[in-house]
Point group: C2
Chain length 386, copies 2
């Protein structure tokens, strides 16, 4: 096992009816900026619950954070934070709103001239403006980790940031929010969490048997509850386990001490940046071909996945490994998610070359657990996924 540090100080408050705890968790001695997205929380009753819980708090609202949080939008919120002397933030939304809030947490205390540097120059955040979260869409795990992704559409960029100062102080996860999420978003959330686990698991055997089993446990549980969630999002058993799986998929625990990949995410971000394809769907396009490309390096873990998660005991190691890739693609498709770029756009010619150039420009030249996925290799994977 590799050496590691693990620090996850977010207080998780999980369960039906828990949004009311905002009343005691959010500070009363600071002016709060309440951040949310396009207003779906006003239709599903979450907004009302939040406002009721904050009746003794001082807060102002900022809405309109996009599904991929836009730098330009966030700068407007940053202006309010500075002008209004905001001392605390409350993100009410999915990964996008929470990620946007993390950018603001960092930018609010950033001393440089240009907040975009936090992303483009990969500046880690050790202290941020404190914030809490109410999760409305299980998927990204942002509610219990310190990473964020921010988009800048005018330059077709989508970049990551992070640091130990970016954990939510508390996150409230009420699984009944799942009831009002459209099927498409549910499918995205399931695919996103599932892929997060794979990025941390599908590398090579590395003396991390417990991490392997935790990852396999999340994958098995997601495979088990996915059809139930899609079929009936009012099923509390399915919804609560879906929500908890999404958090555990990316709160740091399964990745510590073992190698991770993340190349699929980095490459897939380019699809969102250029075509605006939903994040989860871009993962489903890139991942199967990435695993085909890196078959020799990943076949032991692919076969382990086939044996332990899919219960495939027959066949050679290679046969099991191929069955694993097929199984993964089948899972995406079972969620109604297409796995080829042509399913999403006709104008994919030349996109591989764009990805190669973009990765080069951003210094992302050594991806994957062996750091041997160069921009050229990434372009080959993209071409395979057309």
């Amino acid at each position: 096992m590799r050496n590691f540090e693990l620090y996850v100080p977010t207080k998780m408050i999980f369960g039906e009816g828990e949004i009311k705890k905002l009343a005691t968790e959010a500070p009363k001695d600071k002016k709060i900026l309440l951040l949310y997205g396009g207003g779906s929380i006003k239709k599903n009753g979450i907004y009302d619950q939040v406002i009721k819980a904050l009746k003794d708090h001082t807060f102002i609202e900022f809405s309109g954070i996009e599904a991929n949080p836009e730098y330009k939008t966030l700068l407007k919120a940053l202006e309010i934070i500075k002008r209004e002397d905001i001392g605390y933030m409350l993100a009410v939304g999915g990964g996008s709103v929470i990620d946007g809030t993390k950018f603001l947490a960092s930018a609010a205390l950033y001393n440089g001239d240009n907040p975009w540097d936090i992303l483009s120059k990969k500046i880690r955040t050790f202290k941020g403006l404190p914030f809490g979260a109410v999760l409305t869409l299980p998927a990204t795990g942002s509610e219990m980790n310190s990473g964020a992704v921010v988009s800048r559409s005018e330059t077709n960029e989508k970049l990551v940031m992070g640091g130990p100062g970016l954990f939510a102080e508390f996150s409230i996860c009420d699984p009944t929010v799942v009831r009002s999420i459209p099927k498409r978003q549910l499918a995205n959330g399931l695919a996103d969490a599932y892929t997060h686990v794979l990025e941390q698991y599908m590398t090579y055997p590395a003396d991390g048997p417990l991490q392997d089993r935790f990852s396999e446990g999340i994958l098995q549980t997601l495979l088990e509850i996915a059809p139930e969630v899609i079929e009936d999002p009012t099923n509390y058993r399915a919804a609560s386990n879906f929500m908890w799986c999404c958090t555990m998929a990316l709160n740091g625990y399964i990745q510590k001490g073992v190698p991770t990949d993340w190349s699929v995410h980095v490459i897939a971000h380019e699809l969102t940046a250029i075509y605006g394809i939903d994040h989860a769907r871009t993962l489903a396009v890139i991942l199967p071909k990435a695993y085909e490309k890196k078959f020799e390096q990943k076949k032991e873990k692919l076969a382990q996945y086939a044996e332990r998660v899919l219960n495939i005991q027959e066949g050679s190691l290679e046969e099991k490994a191929r069955a694993a890739i097929e199984g993964i693609e089948k899972f995406y498709k079972s969620l109604g998610i297409d796995t080829r770029l042509r399913d999403y756009t006709d104008s994919y010619e030349g996109f591989a070359q764009h990805v190669e150039k973009s990765l080069l420009e951003h210094g992302l030249t050594a991806l994957g657990e062996h750091q041997d996925i160069t921009p050229k290799v990434a372009a080959e994977i993209v071409e395979m996924s057309y």
Copy 2:
């Protein structure tokens, strides 16, 4: 899944050679009390590593914390904390030293007249004197949780305490410490961690499939690495996974959202209090008989354990469940741990009645996941374990 709150703010620093990080993790602006046990850290080189890392710190030492930390000993340390204006503590040891330090963290800021009240009156600690830990013996999980057990031999008491103010700020876990641990202690640590998981898992099916799989993952890993650890504690792969399993077995993650039992621990504490039997061994004495006694209530999960952990697919549910109990007892015995009270003492007559009385006196009248293990039922379990 049940509603839950999960808050585990300890920074885990894990791996070979990490003790040197004390130099930056421990505060330089506070006077530190360095706490340890009987002095084994002076033989295995850990003391030297700690002292070297603390060369720019101000600290004084307190040694002699017992294998079951004694209230009387801890009161002496408390006096030093107050007299010397100690602002930080550093526990270097196993669960006993860390538990003793937790008691001191609470007692140092306690306003009442009698610190024993923290234990006897079950006073939760929301703010404690801050401390860090260097773990020298994987077993109890105390390095990443907020619970502690303190003994008072003059009254034959062994009581638990806890609260969110009792997490170590950081814990350094260097698996090479396992090399110098005597086989008996290794066996105890393996049995302790394994039993911790069972206390949180072996209840009834409760819509917690992910928690179940995490628990099964720890149990499988412990069963897998136990013979390797005992055979060769210099095996880093085995030692590191042993250490990480012990932490994950009791840092809160596997118990959230699901019912837990803990009756075995409560009953077993009486064996340590009266006979001084090693904690882990008392668990091995009580647990199999507790599961026999509560067979009807636990048989579904027992059968699930047989299927998933022991890979027993044949037989009826009851047969699998019985095979599970046999398998558990076999594991304890494989570690060289005896599972009957008579193996440890000849004077067990009347002990069941003592346990009944003691549980009554301490208000522990409704144990187990169904809260139906009364002192009388507990006494019956103890009699079965003679």
